[in-house]
């Protein structure tokens, strides 16, 4: 029973990857007036799926090495380290994310202070 459920889950995930890869290929193809054959799309989707396996196993290993069970941003950075361009890209995105979080913290902090002042008044 559970194995069947797992299989359906895997099939659904594969279908989702296949669909998104198809849209990417269509977009890039349109820009160059070239179509991707169905086989080519399927092959890219399958490779992406397997790449996910490799990424996931790496992330899990890095988290475990850091004595954590939760995969963090640092683990993702380690996974991206081999390609300088990718590594820079991920670094920038993670800094953007950190900034966003800081902004959120600041606004909620202000709100809290404001309400404190209100109660004092």
């Amino acid at each position: 029973m559970t194995e069947d459920a797992d299989e359906t889950q895997v099939r659904r995930l594969k279908a989702a990857v296949h669909y998104t890869v198809g849209r990417f290929c269509q977009k890039i193809g349109e820009e160059h007036r070239r179509e991707f054959s169905r086989q080519a799309v399927a092959a890219i989707a399958e490779t992406t799926f397997r790449q996910c396996d490799i990424f996931a196993k790496d992330l899990e290993a890095f988290a475990r090495h850091g004595k954590r069970t939760k995969v963090s941003v640092e683990d993702v950075k380690l996974t991206a380290r081999r390609s300088a361009a990718l590594s820079n890209y991920i670094q920038n995105r993670s800094e953007e994310l950190a900034l966003q979080h800081n902004d959120l913290k600041k606004t909620t902090g202000k709100k809290r202070r404001n309400t404190e002042e209100d109660t004092r008044e």
Binding site: V71, Y89, I90, R93
Partner: protein, 88 residues
């Protein structure tokens, strides 16, 4: 990377996808890690598609075939994870 556009995987899908490959059930993903992994996969797919397209272009083909992708695959895998060694 040009032309990545709006087409993207959902965070939920990426989270489920990665979790399904974890060896241990207790391994979890932080929200930010999911966002960054979605970016990583986007880069990977875009690279695969762009390089295949270029290969087809260099061979003067109107359609990108699986053979074009096969030709760029080894370098793609090497570039993304140098550690992906095949043992068989």
């Amino acid at each position: 990377i040009k032309g990545s556009g709006q087409a993207s995987l959902k965070y939920e899908t990426v989270s489920k996808l990665l979790s399904s490959f974890f060896k241990e059930d207790k391994t979890k993903l932080s929200a930010d890690a999911v966002v960054l992994m979605t970016e990583m996969l986007k880069v990977f797919v875009t690279e695969a598609a762009v390089r295949s397209q270029k290969q087809a272009e260099s061979e003067d083909c109107n359609q990108v075939e699986i053979e074009h992708f096969e030709k760029i695959l080894p370098q793609l895998v090497c570039d993304s994870v140098g550690s992906a060694l095949l043992l068989f």
